[in-house]
Symmetry: C2
Subunit: 567 residues, 2 copies
């Protein structure tokens, strides 16, 4: 491709509101341009990168036996109603009505569409397992787009969906997909951790994110020092050490406590350890229930874990007014003990206890009245949680579950994810069944698998750049060679270009009427793997200058040999 004819406009002056190096370089290099916030044009050279990335993904997916197809972009909204996702995913879902009044979702993911397709066929166990995938535009009605291609409102996703007889069959596929994804990202130059994650609005019981470490990434996760455990902060499970659990239980005691509302005030007033205090956090959920989360004083509540336990969609903190008027308690002095007594009929309160409260005895904390505390509070004896489980927030330095070593905190970019869906969709969508060996209809056991193309592109640039610009790895480079003609060597450069085209070398040929400095700067910014310069000086020696973008030294190569080097 001749630069002079190419719709490629570099611009060193593009500002970088995001402080995000990939956004800056991709804009400056003429790869992408924003239409409105979070919606991007992929310019010709940027589209080439997208296609290279998709090619790698397609090759590995096809090799695995997965089959590419494509669904409509507008999903009949009834399908999303079947699975109740219009509610659970409502805040990010865009909807549209046609002129006959039919309603559609602009697909964020396509589970319903694939299940709706597959259930049309009377499949039998002989047809299973299989996986179908597509490259297709996805929409997210994000409140804030940011980071160039890192968090957008519209993007191409490779989304795959697998159908199985049972969990065992699915698990084979799930493990296979871990390898396929790892290989895809390896080929693209991205080392990824496979990180246990929250399944968000997809559903199912467990899932993993493929995260490539990066300071700019939005995903906070922990890796155990042993290397055997990696989990998103929202699902990280850690050891809660036994404290004074085995102490003799003492009698529950009311005391006056003129103290402030903070945890530290309790510690100072009672001269007892923080871990022995009960931390009470009162929330209101999407069904307007009050949720009292209680946890050992040295730990914090993780709202995602809490939401899972209560099967909720979102939470907000209760106001002081609600605490006083509806719960009849007092901010800073809430206690699970006796809190349900005297509540109005219409007030629903659910007490959720973190299992860390089983590691202590004779705890202390508020008494639902201002300046009144309780000492020697004990679970089971003095209060009974409605739900008990793990709602604790992990922190760096904690011991990972099963003693797999200290947790190390990381930040990274989530480039792919894989989900166990189990029966989540097939149980909700009527007729999503196959006929088993015994002649009986059974629901499909499912999984799904996604990769964001634009985000992967951004992640590559985040990793491969220097002060001068992008440093594309060969697998995603839009061209392999950046050929530069300098003054007085145009004819020879032209000949070399023609030869490269004949031999299918992917080459960007800078034939513009620009200075050597400008051409070199653009070559560095655009970042193709090889730069070849033909100048007056080099052609006197019947040679050209070759420099790899990853190296600083240039080599003099005879013109006759350079093509062989590139093949």
């Amino acid at each position: 491709m001749r630069f002079s004819k190419y719709f490629l406009k570099t611009n060193k002056n593009v500002s970088d509101e995001d402080k995000c190096i990939s956004a800056k370089l991709l804009k400056q290099g003429g790869f992408i341009r924003e239409s409105v916030a979070g919606r991007f044009y992929f310019l010709p050279i940027g589209q080439k990168v997208q296609q290279k990335i998709m090619k790698v993904i397609k090759e590995e997916m096809d090799l695995e036996g997965s089959q590419e197809m494509v669904t409509p972009i507008l999903h009949p909204l009834e399908l999303w109603k079947e699975t109740n996702r219009t509610n659970t995913a409502g805040f990010e879902l865009m909807k549209v009505k046609d002129r006959r009044g039919a309603e559609f979702a602009l697909g964020g993911t396509a589970e319903e569409m694939f299940v709706d397709l597959v259930r049309q066929y009377k499949l039998s166990y002989r047809d299973l397992p299989f996986q179908l995938y597509q490259f297709s535009p996805k929409f997210r009605d994000e409140l804030r787009a940011r980071g160039g291609l890192l968090r957008v409102r519209e993007f191409i996703m490779k989304d795959g969906y697998s159908f199985h007889r049972d969990e065992n069959d699915f698990k084979v596929e799930y493990e296979k997909m871990k390898n396929v994804y790892t290989k895809i990202f390896d080929r693209l130059g991205l080392q990824t951790s496979i990180v246990e994650s929250d399944n968000g609005y997809i559903g199912g019981e467990y899932c993993h994110e493929f995260i490539t470490e990066s300071e700019i990434g939005e995903s906070k996760y922990f890796v155990a020092e042993s290397g055997n455990y990696a989990a998103h902060e929202d699902v990280t499970v850690f050891e809660k050490e036994i404290k004074n659990k085995n102490d003799q239980l003492k009698p529950l005691t009311e005391v006056e406590a003129k103290r402030g509302n903070a945890m530290k005030d309790g510690v100072d007033f009672h001269k007892l350890p923080l871990w022995q205090q009960i931390k009470d956090v009162l929330f209101v959920d999407d069904k307007n229930r009050f949720i009292l989360a209680i946890i050992r004083g040295d730990l914090d509540v993780n709202e995602t874990k809490l939401l899972h336990l209560i099967k909720g969609v979102n939470l907000r903190h209760a106001t002081d007014e609600e605490i006083r008027e509806q719960i009849k308690s007092e901010p800073g002095f809430i206690s699970p003990v006796g809190i349900k007594k005297g509540l109005d009929k219409q007030v629903e309160l659910v007490i959720v206890a973190d299992d860390s409260l089983r590691t202590i005895s004779n705890a202390y904390g508020g008494n639902n009245k201002k300046n009144q505390d309780l000492l020697n509070v004990n679970i089971d004896r003095d209060y009974k949680p409605d739900i008990e489980g793990d709602i604790a927030l992990a922190r760096a330095g904690y011991e990972a579950k099963n003693k797999m070593g200290k947790l190390v905190e990381k930040k990274g970019i989530e480039v792919g994810n894989i989900f166990q869906l189990g029966y989540h969709y097939s149980s909700k969508m009527k007729g999503a069944v196959y006929v088993d060996t015994d002649g009986k209809e059974k629901p499909f056991y499912m999984g799904c698998y996604g990769i964001g193309i634009g985000r992967t592109m951004a992640a590559i640039v985040e990793k491969y750049n220097d002060q001068k610009g992008i440093v594309w790895p060969e697998s995603s480079a839009p061209f392999k060679v950046h050929l530069i003609a300098l003054d007085g060597a145009e004819k020879e450069a032209e000949l070399l270009y023609e030869e490269m085209i004949k031999k299918d070398v992917e080459v960007l040929y800078d034939d513009r009427d620009k200075t050597a400095g400008e051409k070199f700067a653009d070559a560095d910014l655009i970042g193709l793997p090889m730069r070849i310069v033909v100048s007056k000086k080099t052609i006197q020696q019947k040679s050209c200058e070759l420099k790899k973008r990853t190296e600083s030294e240039t080599k003099i190569i005879p013109l006759l040999l350079v093509l062989d080097l590139l093949m």
Copy 2:
């Protein structure tokens, strides 16, 4: 690909509501499946066909110098407002709002998006000309979807947009694109006529459709016997022969005429030729103006031509009540003579005359009163049209314009179109300019170029099929070879399959546990170019049976040679 593992389910029992052979065969063969009316899944084998078609298009577009990129699918509605297309294209346009209230159009075409992109750069004459294109989903809020992939609500379109200094530069591109498109469709096995067409809601002054002849097609067009002229019925221009134009003008005469309302009633009553009668048709346009279209009695009004002359968006026939109460005339007796007298102030009436009225003298027709006619009506002397031009409907047998021969009527499928846009968009969208040699900013001169992928696929199947199924031409065949293993020859078939895969032969291998009859029927239905059968009988001769889908005879080929034959 192994049939047993492939998500490919043929079904001979798919009904065919459309009486459309391509819809029937593509559904029966497992290529597509409808989600809701007009929105299709492209199943794995159907997606392969789409990709083959896109590959041919991409190769020819790239060769021409056009550059692939991609725009967001949601277009900011403000852009469509700049060009006023929210009104003119409103009835087919789908709109969507995000949660912050920003409005978007679901792109039907992308002129505004490309202009908005290009105007962001300070381009100069040196940057011109260029063409950008994309493969991207398009949406049409059609009232009625029909014909499988022929008229849908969602489809992939290759849409290209070219930018030029002036009309001359554009015309070079336009002619080039005629060749590029002809070559694309030739490679896909579709002979196309380049047919002058109406530009619909795209704008611009002229355009051409690429139509492949087909009985099922919705496009009615005319081709002159000379072969030098082809035009869509809506824009076909023909010779209007001179009648009694040169007769001496006689005095205008009122007569009583107790006759019916039809044209024939006038002929019978006055014993004068049909062509001498004036045909009056009263419409109401989208601005609530009355439009009186008048034309020679032997011709009919073409509403598309009429809309162009009055620069309107749509028309309806006036009711009898409107004719009587607002126009103060009488159905069947309308006349342009004196019709504007005595109209209420708020009634606007535009008289549009077809230029055929210049070919006659002393015409006859109504007198705006029941049972009253006028004889010897002459244009200019007795009435003055507000607008004069060509509003006549072409018919088979008429002489084409410039005496290019008799018009022959054809039906076909529009698979592509090219549009001169001129300054239509660049004049409406602020800043859509380049800096010319004289340092002045000038608007871009533009063109655009579209191909519907799904419709092209349907057109191929409409042309290439027989009673047994599809007969794919090689350029769009999803696989080249249909390999069939019959009882007792599975091992040899398997070996042959493995060898083909190694040599990159695109092969569908029917390894299913089915009868020979079922396998042959599926092979015919799916329609791959070559069928190879390995059976007990053939392997005794160390050979296989090869049959082309286009031929009925089979050949016996030694197994050792068959691969060479396929390469």
